[in-house]
């Protein structure tokens, strides 16, 4: 299951939802808001989400991961709205009987989410005007 949240992400609650007595592994990914990008000091972030399509696409990604990897369950949350430094922007949790498929599925889901979900990020800087960012592989490039 995947959700979009305007409130801070409660990782303890999410982990509890994944409890499964068949599971031998839980792999989580947390994306955090960092205080810099490309040498500029970032003060806050803003996420805008086209929610209905983002949820549909996220469910497709989760279904693909369940097809590809031998896992039990996947849970994911992405924030929208204004976030502060250190906040969790995205959380993905995967439970499986064994750790290898859990790691692989978690990596797959976060990578696909970054590339496919209609979510946009605006960075607010200490010393200059805010900008929308576009993700490209491992580095973020600004477009505007």
């Amino acid at each position: 299951m995947f959700t979009i949240s305007e409130k801070p992400i409660d990782t303890h609650l999410l982990k509890r939802e994944l409890i499964n007595s068949r599971a031998g592994a839980l792999v989580c990914f947390e994306g955090w808001v960092r205080n810099h990008n490309d040498g500029d000091e970032v003060t806050t972030l803003e996420y805008e989400v086209f929610e209905s399509l983002a949820l549909k696409e996220a469910e497709k990604i989760i279904a693909e991961a369940k097809e590809k990897f031998d896992i039990l369950e996947i849970l994911g949350v992405h924030r929208q709205g204004r976030l502060d430094i250190g906040d969790i922007a995205v959380w993905i949790g995967v439970v499986a009987e064994h750790r290898d498929p859990a790691f692989e599925a978690c990596r797959y889901v976060i990578d696909e989410i970054k590339h496919r979900l209609p979510i946009w990020k605006k960075e607010h800087f200490k010393d200059r005007e805010a900008e929308w960012v576009v993700s490209n592989e491992d580095t973020d490039h600004r477009i505007i």
Partner: protein, 83 residues
């Protein structure tokens, strides 16, 4: 004769800021999503080439060359940056 189509266009992120609105009802002679985007990009001075834009028609990812129909809900998707 090409009849005008009535569409709903919703805007997100940089496109929302450039248009100053989150949605509008428009009448257009554009046949495809691509033609519609090019027209709107000229009108609102969008900073993005059509090649970097994806489109959602009626809440499904579709092709920019797909034909538009009256009543369609169109959302142009600038490059995404989730995570």
């Amino acid at each position: 004769m090409n009849e005008p189509k009535k569409l709903t266009v919703k805007y997100f992120a940089v496109l929302r800021e450039k248009t100053g609105k989150s949605q509008e009802e428009i009448e257009t002679l554009a046949n495809s999503a691509l033609e519609l985007y090019v027209g709107l990009a000229n009108k609102y001075n969008f900073p993005l080439e059509s090649s970097s834009i994806r489109v959602s028609i009626n809440e499904e990812f579709r092709n920019m060359n797909d034909i538009l129909h009256s009543g369609d809900s169109i959302i142009f998707i600038p490059p995404v940056a989730g995570g």
